[in-house]
């Protein structure tokens, strides 16, 4: 695994379009899921992304990437490309927990073969070594990106926000520490509660290096508790900040979206997704020309 201490890129490509995740319409979801029905189509788009000049890809650890990454590992152009996984792929666990219960769900995803790690996993469950269990689940998720140039590892918002609400800051800290120590990469979290998250990492855990990815857009969509408080918190820049949902699923016109982001001092990177090469290129050019 690569050791990478450099800052995150200013522009990062996301993966929602590949899975038809769309906050606006079912029709668009269907169109996109057909466009990316074959793994090769995802690979081809990421190849375009690279050629356009974008050097970072942030994605959830969906099983479909196994094939896509097999293709990317063979392609030399991705040697220095930055891979940024976001874990866990929550639907997988949520479905397993509904069907098998909490312990059954966790057991299902303990890494490696059942005979070897099943024992270690069972011991962790019985002896309440929760942090050990978390580390095993991280290792399990990281298998997907073995041999790739991984720059950072992010926790999905469903888990980040659940832990923030429960007040389990300590576990968030353990996550970040493990990511740094074991994988020598940057830890990060996605959250819909930016103000709380940035306070926890900088003030409570004293880990201001943890990057925070959160919706930031002109209309205040998913900027909780309020757009004003999130803006004030961004200005303090206690941690690295990645803006996502800058177009609020298309609700904010391009130029407005970008001038709003540019007006806020303190945003380090922008995450965006798009389906067609032309759309990706146009967005990239627009973001790039405003990136200062």
């Amino acid at each position: 695994m690569a050791i990478n201490e450099e800052n995150m890129d200013k522009i990062i490509f996301g993966d929602n379009q590949f899975f038809g995740v769309n906050h606006m319409s079912l029709d668009k979801t269907i169109v996109e899921s057909q466009r990316f029905a074959k793994d090769e189509a995802i690979y081809k788009t990421l190849s375009d992304v690279h050629d356009i000049g974008i050097n970072s890809f942030m994605f959830t650890t969906h099983e479909r990437f196994e094939n896509v990454f097999r293709l990317m590992r063979k392609d030399q152009k991705f040697t220095n490309f930055h891979f940024i996984p976001c874990i866990p792929y929550a639907h997988k666990y949520a479905n397993a927990i509904t069907e098998l219960g909490i312990i059954g769900g966790i057991k299902k995803y303990i890494p490696g073969n059942l005979f070897l790690t099943g024992v270690k996993g069972a011991v962790s469950i019985i002896s309440n070594e929760y942090v050990e269990l978390m580390k095993m689940l991280i290792d399990s998720e990281m298998k997907l990106v073995e041999g790739l140039n991984v720059q950072a590892l992010f926790l999905q918002n469903i888990v980040t926000d659940l832990l923030i609400g429960l007040g389990m800051d300590q576990i968030l800290g353990e996550f970040a520490t493990y990511v740094k120590q074991k994988y020598k990469i940057l830890p990060g979290v996605i959250t819909m509660n930016f103000a709380k998250a940035t306070d926890i990492f900088s003030d409570k855990l004293h880990m201001p290096e943890v990057a925070i990815c959160t919706p930031i857009n002109k209309i205040g969509f998913r900027m909780n508790p309020s757009q004003k408080l999130v803006e004030e918190s961004i200005a303090l820049h206690k941690t690295p900040i990645i803006a996502m949902s800058i177009f609020a699923s298309g609700a904010v016109p391009y130029k407005d979206a970008i001038s709003y982001i540019a007006s806020l001092k303190g945003i380090d990177s922008i995450l965006f997704g798009a389906s067609s090469k032309q759309h990706i290129e146009e967005t990239y050019q627009l973001l790039n020309s405003n990136s200062n």
């Binding site: 906050h23 900027m223 757009q227």
Partner: protein
């Protein structure tokens, strides 16, 4: 500061616990759950006192309210136990498995001056609140029919059977998904007084229905059809949609988007004649703490403010009773023909 406890820490219980713990003016002072793995981890990292038996918790803790997220068949007893301990309660949907039991809870909570609420979260989704306003202001004229549906991918071929797949334990797609669909119809059009047809179909489950098809009639005169399927593999998440036909227009809505067709433009709602599209991004609705959707925070905030202000919550036990009654009517129609 209100003292609250959460009973039952499955997916919904943990989610509600996290939100409550993050809200101001609320103290989560205890939790009750039989799974020791869950209670130990929470006790260790949150310091909240955990019980394996909720009755002991009710005996020992000085609580103002509880949030009950137990399996459906235990809702009734947990509500009764809470009332006996003079504690207000929020119970996850469906309210109970028998409308007579729901009625008993309503009567007892009134006698004891306690507040009860049921977690019908659709009522806290902004787009559904807006269509209610539209209907109340006669935007699409007299409503003559609707189609309500809820789809999801819960049960697959070969799914392991749990209480969720057993009607006698409160499982089945009618209690689980159907209740949401029926509640949304009752929220928008009032009490359902007749079931015109009802079919409960099994697909993969052995002890419960997987598909519900029904035609109902409301006291207000509106009729509508309900279609529920929890074996739809095309759905990434549970998906609720309603299409409402009025004499002057039509509304199609789900939690993300809203389409309105109007014969005449409306200044009040800022809508043109013909088709109008609105999205969730048109109705920004930020919350003090976000987990899985604004609506989950808003329903718990309504529960707390309803206790504090002694007002009726948007998702009251009285309305949830109407849903329980409708569910029973659907089963009676399917199996007894009346």
């Amino acid at each position: 500061m209100m003292n609250i406890a959460v009973i039952g820490l499955g997916k919904m219980g943990i989610s509600h616990l996290s939100i409550l713990n993050a809200l101001p003016d609320v103290k989560v002072s205890a939790i009750a759950e039989t799974n020791r793995f869950v209670t130990r981890v929470l006790e260790k990292y949150t310091g909240i006192k955990a019980y394996s038996d909720y009755r002991k918790m009710l005996d020992r803790e000085a609580l103002d309210a509880v949030v009950i997220c137990l399996p459906n068949s235990l809702h009734y007893q947990a509500c009764i136990d809470s009332i006996e301990h003079k504690v207000s309660f929020f119970v996850e949907k469906p309210f109970t498995l028998d409308p007579n039991q729901s009625k008993e809870i309503i009567d007892k909570s009134r006698t004891n001056n306690l507040l009860g609420m049921v977690g019908y979260v659709n009522r806290y989704i902004k787009i559904f609140q807006i269509i209610k306003e539209m209907l109340e202001s006669d935007l699409i004229g007299e409503v003559y029919d609707y189609k309500a549906s809820m789809l999801g991918a819960v049960v697959h071929a070969g799914s392991k059977e749990t209480w969720r797949n057993s009607v006698s334990e409160g499982g089945g797609c009618l209690f689980d998904y159907g209740s949401h669909c029926i509640d949304l119809a009752i929220y928008l059009f009032g009490e359902i007084d007749k079931v015109l047809s009802s079919e409960l179909k099994m697909l993969f489950s052995k002890k419960c229905e997987d598909i519900v098809k029904a035609v109902v009639s409301h006291k207000s005169g509106v009729t509508g059809s309900i279609f529920v399927n929890w074996c739809d593999e095309s759905q990434r998440k549970a998906y609720n949609e309603i299409e409402i036909f009025g004499k002057k227009g039509k509304i199609i809505a789900n939690k993300q988007d809203l389409k309105v067709f109007l014969l005449n433009r409306s200044e009040i709602f800022g809508l043109e004649s013909g088709w109008n599209s609105k999205y969730v991004t048109n109705y920004i609705d930020n919350v003090p703490f976000y987990l899985r959707g604004e609506e989950f925070t808003k329903e718990l905030m309504d529960f707390i403010s309803s206790i504090n202000e002694a007002k009726k919550p948007l998702s009251s036990i009285e309305d949830a009773y109407l849903t329980d009654k409708t569910i029973k009517m659907l089963r009676d129609k399917t199996f007894n023909g009346n």
